[in-house]
Amino acid sequence: MQWAGILAAAAVFLGLYNLFLVHWNKVNDQTPGWPYSAVLIFFFLVTLALGLIFGPDFEIMGLLFRYVQLPIETGLMALLAISLVVAGFRLVAKRKDAVSIVFIVTALLVLIGNSPWLMGSESIIAHLLGNVRAWVAQVWSVGGARGILLGIALGAVATGLRVILGADRPYGD
């Protein structure tokens, strides 16, 4: 298992090297969006240097995480919430099919079921909506998620067999 940990660490290193190489080529080829790659490479090298020199628990590393990485990732999650709302609006405004209706109904039930103004209410509707939300989330959602997981597992097994039998050569000719 220790060898496995070492291999996993080496895999992380190779992944970082590949990331650096890809963006380096973009900068060299002046492909569109190369400035973003340049910024990535810059902070990648800075972070790596700081980590190698001062260690991962260096104070500056904590500051960089706290004031750079953490707000960025948190902001991305906030944008995700906004994007989901915009997507839902466009969906219900443009498409008027069954899938859109199912989507919008499910979304409204879950949101309303978790909404503070409903959860703080003692009304029957609040209880009813709370139960519907739990039923949708714990039955339909779990059933769908597990079905997806089962499909992924079966697909992974089939893909492994095809690779073992030589039917697929994802990295070959």
Partner: protein, 967 residues
């Protein structure tokens, strides 16, 4: 002496050298006659049926090269059997021309082919490029211009060969000039002016010579029954004069009619003419010339001397028919008047009985008379180079003559003829003449010209009888012509008397100007034309056609002058060649419908071409030069040829044409410059901005202003109480392992939920050890514990410790479950003032060697996979240690089955802001969950309203469009 450079090594060699003395390469052209591959002329293959049926022949559009070929074929194919026919046809053609001459005045503006040959020969010696010679330089009477026809000259030359081979009596030297071709041609040229005088002056011996020759030719022709009488004459038998006359007349008239009305060039023959018309023409000629009727008996007696006795009277012929005897009589009379009543002793040996007086008469001729008689054309002919003569007569003919010359060596020509006529010839000129004389075949010219002359005289009695020589000029004529004949053979073109320095040389010869005739003076004009270049080795195929000026031969004017009847003569010869086996059968003529069905003739379409080539081809160069049947170095299949099958016309239908147009249009459109597409209108994401703005506003406003203030959840989750019981059951001496496996992006929700738990743990005095399978996990853990520790006075290393980052995913989780100390050796953000080295040596974890030594395992994650991996990997090694999970609201439905199962792998779940807010209420603190509750509620409310607004907008658009359609 001139030098000739070798074409191979470019080194100088003597002018007369045939091979290079340095490299041995051939300098003198080795001319080998190649069989012509051109198909025979179709006109020649067609049977000659009758003059009335024959339509006017189309203009012959042969190239000069083809003319050379057919000349070569004729030269090489005419054999002894055809000689009689050929001579007879020549006679008839000559007679025809004489008739035309009688109708039209002599035109002195015509060119002489011998003169052009002379000029051409000079050009060849001086300049490499052929130069077009102006035909106006030399004037030749029209009536004798046919002499310049190379076809006639070749035919005459062909006739010589049989005589040479048969070894007929040689003509004595005294009358050898009569057989000289050049002399007789020039004599003939002088005849036309005398024709108008109408004075027949032909000696008997010359008439007999002509008749004897004609008789010999007729005897060879086995097809003519009328020729029997000539053979009888030769054998001394009695001859029926009526049969002779009839045979000659019928043969001549038939041929004349056939030749006359088969020509295109002659305007009078453009339309078919009947025999009566021909007879009328002949009668008119006879009437115009005032030819006196001659007794046939006397004529025969004059011809053959004592060879004929008591011949029957020849009946008078009708006025409408051509009388050959009359022509012969005129010729005989003319020659008689010309040379007088002399007997040439040598003529008896050669042809028959020639009186010896001729020699004396010829000696008596004066030089001036000779000059006037010969005219300038004769001198031009004398200047003609030997090469041209050889080219015209043909290589085979020359070769045969040379062989005979070697065998016989009987002719000895004296080059000092100028001295004989009283001229002072310089030594250098004599040397040149001697040298050239030795190299030239005099007998060839003698025989050719003699034969030609005899035939000519026989065909042109009127011209012959018009010749008037002064008394005593015959001797001078004989000597002069003999010597000039030698000049033809021996005098090079660049010799002084006939070159640009001719004037100087002539001045050195005393007395030459005195005897130089006018025509000779005219011909003395310096020739400035450039001479063509002659390569070292020339094949027949490579030889430029002599009829093309551009290629170094006779100019096109000469070609144009070749009468059609000569071409027909050639065609007749071809027909005779093809019909040797069955001469009596006329060649079949394909009907039009069968002609139309014939496949398109292609070059070498017949398979028998190849064996013919192998049989007839003669190697032209190299060590095998001259050998026949040599294998071709180049395969026949590789030779250039026209395609075997004709290219069929492309059948294009309307559909094909339309498709082709479409394709063409597509191609054209591709070539066009693509039109600029209208600038894409970029819409601003106003809707996105509005939605984002609304969400941010409603999320920030409650955080700042605290409004709206939503009520706390009135109903706690059903599993929260179980979770709180587990937290309260943790022994204080056992550390709690908190696994921070969530991303910073989920920190808002997770910190609000997990922070409440961590505060409860730290607040209760529980020691906490953290780890993470994510790189940012230790930082997240340190950040949270710092905050919580700052609130509760917890210190790093004493109250909590960070094991750090555990790489390896599920495998590392399993390793950690087996041997926690080996999976993570060093800690993260260890305090500086501690006396232990690793986190496992800290007071928190010093008693922990396995998972069962922990008081609780808390998994903080927002990822379903991570939660599942931890549950699956740690459960076997956790033992009785409770495992609880703090999850995000999105992951909770998927992890809940691990919690709600009959043998749950997770003992408690804490999820979502509402549960965290209830948990905070339970512990009695206002944490992050309470702070975010109003903002959380307003954001969800706005999101719900936006989705409802979108739904309404969609329904309104749909209803509006549907209503509009219905309207």
């Amino acid at each position: 002496m001139d030098e000739v450079r070798c074409p191979m090594c470019s080194k100088p060699n003597p002018d007369d050298a045939e091979e290079c003395t340095f490299c041995g390469a051939r300098i003198t052209p080795l001319v080998v006659e190649q069989p012509s591959e051109e198909p025979p002329i179709e006109e020649a293959q067609e049977p000659f049926e009758s003059t009335e049926e024959v339509e006017p022949a189309e203009p012959v559009e042969e190239t000069p090269r083809s003319e050379v070929d057919w000349l070569s074929r004729m030269r090489g194919d005419i054999d002894d059997d055809d000689e009689g026919k050929q001579l007879e046809e020549e006679e008839l053609e000559a007679t025809q021309l004489i008739e035309e001459k009688a109708e039209t005045p002599p035109d002195l503006g015509k060119t002489d082919f011998l003169g052009r040959m002379k000029a051409l020969g000079i050009q060849e010696d001086e300049e490499p490029e052929p130069v077009i010679e102006e035909p106006e330089e030399l004037d030749v009477p029209e009536e004798i211009d046919f002499i310049g026809d190379e076809q006639l000259l070749e035919d005459a030359a062909e006739e010589i060969l049989p005589e040479i081979e048969t070894g007929e009596p040689d003509v004595p030297e005294e009358i050898d000039f009569l057989s000289d071709e050049q002399l007789l041609e020039d004599v003939t040229e002088e005849i036309p002016p005398e024709i108008e005088t109408g004075e027949p002056d032909v000696p008997d011996w010359l008439a007999r010579v002509r008749a004897r020759k004609l008789t010999d030719e007729l005897l060879r022709d086995e097809e003519l029954e009328e020729s029997d009488w000539l053979s009888g004459l030769r054998e001394g038998e009695e001859l029926d004069e009526d049969e002779v006359i009839e045979s000659l007349e019928s043969a001549i008239e038939d041929d004349i009619i056939s030749e006359l009305f088969d020509e295109d060039e002659l305007p009078e023959s453009a339309t078919p003419v009947s025999e009566d018309a021909v007879s009328d023409v002949i009668d008119s000629v006879e009437t115009q010339e005032d030819i006196e009727p001659v007794d046939e008996k006397e004529l025969v007696a004059e011809y053959f001397g004592e060879g004929i006795e008591d011949e029957p009277d020849v009946p008078e012929e009708g006025t409408g028919e051509f009388d050959l005897e009359e022509v012969d009589t005129l010729a005989a009379t003319t020659l008689k008047d010309l040379f007088g009543d002399v007997e040439l002793p040598s003529a008896d040996e050669a042809i028959g009985a020639i009186p010896e007086e001729v020699e004396d008469d010829l000696e008596a001729l004066e030089a001036e008379d000779i000059a006037e008689l010969l005219g300038e054309d004769l001198l031009d002919d004398l200047e003609a180079p030997t090469k041209d003569i050889v080219d015209i007569l043909g290589d085979d003919l020359v070769a045969d003559v040379e062989e005979d010359q070697v065998k016989e060596e009987e002719v000895e020509l004296d080059p000092k003829f100028l001295a004989d006529i009283g001229l002072d010839v310089p030594q250098d000129i004599e040397a040149i003449l001697d040298e050239e004389l030795a190299a030239f075949d005099a007998e060839l010219i003698d025989e050719a010209s003699g034969e030609w002359d005899e035939s000519f005289l026989a065909l042109e009695p009127e011209a012959v009888e018009s010749v008037d020589l002064a008394p005593g000029s015959d001797e001078l004529l004989r000597d002069t012509t003999l010597e000039e004949a030698d000049l033809i053979e021996s005098e090079p073109l660049d010799s002084p008397p006939f070159t640009e320095v001719e004037g100087e040389k002539r001045a050195e010869i005393p007395g030459l100007d005195a005897v130089m005739p006018d025509w000779l003076e005219e011909s003395d004009q310096p020739i400035d034309e450039e001479l063509p270049h002659v390569p070292a080795l020339i094949l027949d195929d490579e030889l430029p056609p002599i009829t093309s000026v551009g290629e170094g031969g006779i100019d096109e004017a000469t070609v144009a002058e070749i009468p059609v009847w000569l071409q027909d003569l050639r065609e007749d010869v071809d027909e005779e060649e093809e019909g040797e086996d069955v001469p009596e059968l006329a060649k079949a003529k394909l009907p039009p419908w069968l002609e139309a069905m014939r496949p398109i003739e292609t070059f070498r379409a017949k398979p028998e071409i190849e064996p013919i080539e192998e049989e007839e081809i003669v190697e032209a160069a190299g060590p095998l030069a001259g050998l026949k049947g040599v294998l071709l170095a180049e395969p026949v299949v590789a030779m250039p040829r026209s395609p075997g099958a004709a290219v069929s016309a492309l059948d294009v239908t309307e559909l094909d044409y339309s498709k082709a147009e479409i394709l063409q249009r597509m191609v054209d459109e591709e070539e066009r410059e693509e039109a600029l597409s209208p600038e894409k209108i970029t819409r601003l994401p106003i809707l996105n901005w509005i939605i984002a703005f609304l969400i941010i506003i409603v999320a920030v406003i409650p955080l700042i202003l605290g409004i709206p203030n939503f009520n706390s959840p009135t109903r706690a989750p059903r599993d929260l109480s179980q979770f709180l019981d587990l937290i309260r059951s943790i022994p204080p001496s056992e550390p709690v392992l908190v696994i921070f496996d969530y991303e910073p992006g989920f920190s808002t929700e997770m910190d609000a939920v997990a922070g409440t738990l961590v505060e409860d743990l730290v607040g209760n005095g529980q020691r906490v050890a953290t780890l993470s399978t994510r790189p940012t996990g230790p930082l997240m853990a340190d950040l949270m514990l710092r905050n919580v520790g700052s609130m509760y006075g917890a210190q790093n290393g004493i109250d909590y410790i960070h094991l750090g980052y555990l790489p390896g995913g599920p495998l590392a989780m399993s390793l950690f479950g087996v041997t926690p100390r080996e999976a993570l050796v060093n800690g993260f953000n260890m305090p500086e003032d501690i006396d232990w080295e690793t986190a496992w040596d800290s007071p928190i974890l010093q008693d922990v060697s396995q998972l069962s030594d922990l008081g609780m395992i808390v998994i903080l994650t927002a990822n379903t996979e991570t939660a599942r991996n931890w549950v699956e990997q740690l459960e076997p090694y956790a033992g009785a240690v409770p495992t609880v999970m703090v999850l995000s609201a999105g992951v909770e439905p998927l992890i809940r089955p691990y919690f709600e199962s009959e043998a749950p792998q997770i003992e408690g779940i804490l999820t979502g802001i509402p549960s965290a807010m209830i948990y905070e209420g339970v512990i009695g603190r206002m944490g992050a969950a309470t702070e975010q509750w109003n903002a959380y509620g307003t954001a969800i409310l706005v999101a719900v309203l936006i989705l409802i607004g979108g739904l309404i907008y969609g329904l309104w658009v749909w209803f509006f469009r549907t209503f509009r359609r219905s309207d």
